[in-house]
Symmetry: C2
Subunit: 352 residues, 2 copies
Amino acid sequence: MSFIRNNTRSIKLGSVTIGGGAPVSVQTMTNTDTRDVAATVAQIGRTVAAGAEIVRLAVLDERAADCLAEIVPESSVPLVADIHFDWRLAVRALEAGVDGIRINPGNIGGADKVRRVAEAAGARGAVIRVGVNSGSMEKEVLARHGGHPTAEAMVESALDKVRLLEETGFRNIKVALKGSNVMNTVAAVRLWAEASDIPQHLGVTEAGDAFSGTVKSSVGLGLMLAEGFGDTVRVSLTAPPEEEARTAWEILRAVGLRSRGVEFISCPTCGRCEGPLFQLAAEVRQRLGDVKAPLKVAVMGCIVNGPGEAKEADAGIALGRESGLVFVRGRQVEKVPFDRLVDVLEQEVRNL
Amino acid sequence: MSFIRNNTRSIKLGSVTIGGGAPVSVQTMTNTDTRDVAATVAQIGRTVAAGAEIVRLAVLDERAADCLAEIVPESSVPLVADIHFDWRLAVRALEAGVDGIRINPGNIGGADKVRRVAEAAGARGAVIRVGVNSGSMEKEVLARHGGHPTAEAMVESALDKVRLLEETGFRNIKVALKGSNVMNTVAAVRLWAEASDIPQHLGVTEAGDAFSGTVKSSVGLGLMLAEGFGDTVRVSLTAPPEEEARTAWEILRAVGLRSRGVEFISCPTCGRCEGPLFQLAAEVRQRLGDVKAPLKVAVMGCIVNGPGEAKEADAGIALGRESGLVFVRGRQVEKVPFDRLVDVLEQEVRNL
């Protein structure tokens, strides 16, 4: 199944193109103290290994901004500085070499300061993300919308902020409209696409811990992406940023937009299952975690649905009573006892 | 945000109404040996506590079918017997008192056997679910669709099977079209709604382990539910069935259809966070796990988005440097040191 992507203008964030039909890129945000260069660089490396293509860092003070100069050369992906309240930190972060900043033009100190930040970003070809977050909306905008961060309020707030930037002639902009309410975020993202061709950074903010955050982000991003919205995504989880990147990739794969690494298919098990399926599935995932090729591997518990699924996959196993069948590209290749199943499957996958 | 539900006929599965605009019900399936009555009854109890409203059990042989007579009276929710190949097991399960059976009318032994099963179900007012699974499609149907379980192939297979049942005069039917490919399942569900008013049981089958299964089910069910499809849902995970029920509820909440228990909002933490947020969030979830009222509780790490989110929630905390602010229904009620924060929040939530 294919679908039509919403048409947006194309911008460059360092080496990554965002919008204009470019692949939807995966972002995350470090949770280290940015002033701890070693810890931050190490975390960036882990998130990149997990699939992050853009990494954002919180910049709370001048020391953090200055540390960016040491962090940027160590990162293999473009970095974005997240800044609130202080326009000088934004300029300092840009001077330190980040490819983008995330600011709220409404709390940076007036039109003159917004101009100074836009000039600094423009001189370096950097991107400015205008972020609207349902948890930190302007009182005046909220007041015009019954006191609540509705979709209309979020879009109005973003348009106001974009106008501040565009009045300075700056166009290298992306926006993010993030609400903690999934369907509200979806509504805001749809509305934005009617109002502007500025590319969208998608996310469901403050989504919750790994469990509820994964569900809310998957439902929300899934819906928005399947409707053709979104040029770059971040999954927010109260969990390490590597998990955010992994989850984002899993969502992109589920909607059929991009894939990376092995897709694992396995069944929930039922009374029909006569083998140690949970164990085998976990072992297969662990053994094949380093495979980067976009392969489909099935681990199935019975002979009702097992062989069918295993045949549709690139490789797979279907459990019987004391042994399992190994399939490769639709053909049954071997019948193997449980204790050798994972070895044989791994070998077959690596041969592909 | 509200949306229009797809119009389906209404059927009764025991005490649960499915279709015709009834609330989307949550199902799961046991993975115990159905012949182990004690283990099965205990697992049903745990899944019901986690929110299951209908529970399915695999029935592999006559002993399993007979055990249903002991299991049914111990279950507070309607039970469905999952049967393959043997029409006599279906009749036996119905005699044992289940409110529904899941069969594949195509592999039960011909039109005459289908009639016998439909008569037995009709006599007891039981529901028959026609299940189409991309992993176990008829060779003839596949052949007509290029050898692959496409959306069209799945719908054709379901229509063939429904016809077999309806020819006997039986109407108490629901269907499930499940593929391991998310977008393919979505396409099949959309097509079905154009072809028939028979209510749909939604699921993404063989979705994978708890991680990828949660993402795929959330994306798939989220999309289908948000488009107005689906009358009952099952999340399939290679994980205990209680997790399936919890995940289903989280999805229903995310799309704004139903809610149950506390909704936890928390932030992903970033360099701005100065307190032990992961720990506090986990502790809050654990302490409030027994609360059934649909409340929204926020646990936020900083003063940028924290107070805004905490105010939108029924109760919440926002961390500062060494203490946190506690909010209740939009009002800041107290500033509390970290070590007493969860106690104070719990007390405030229980007062609500």
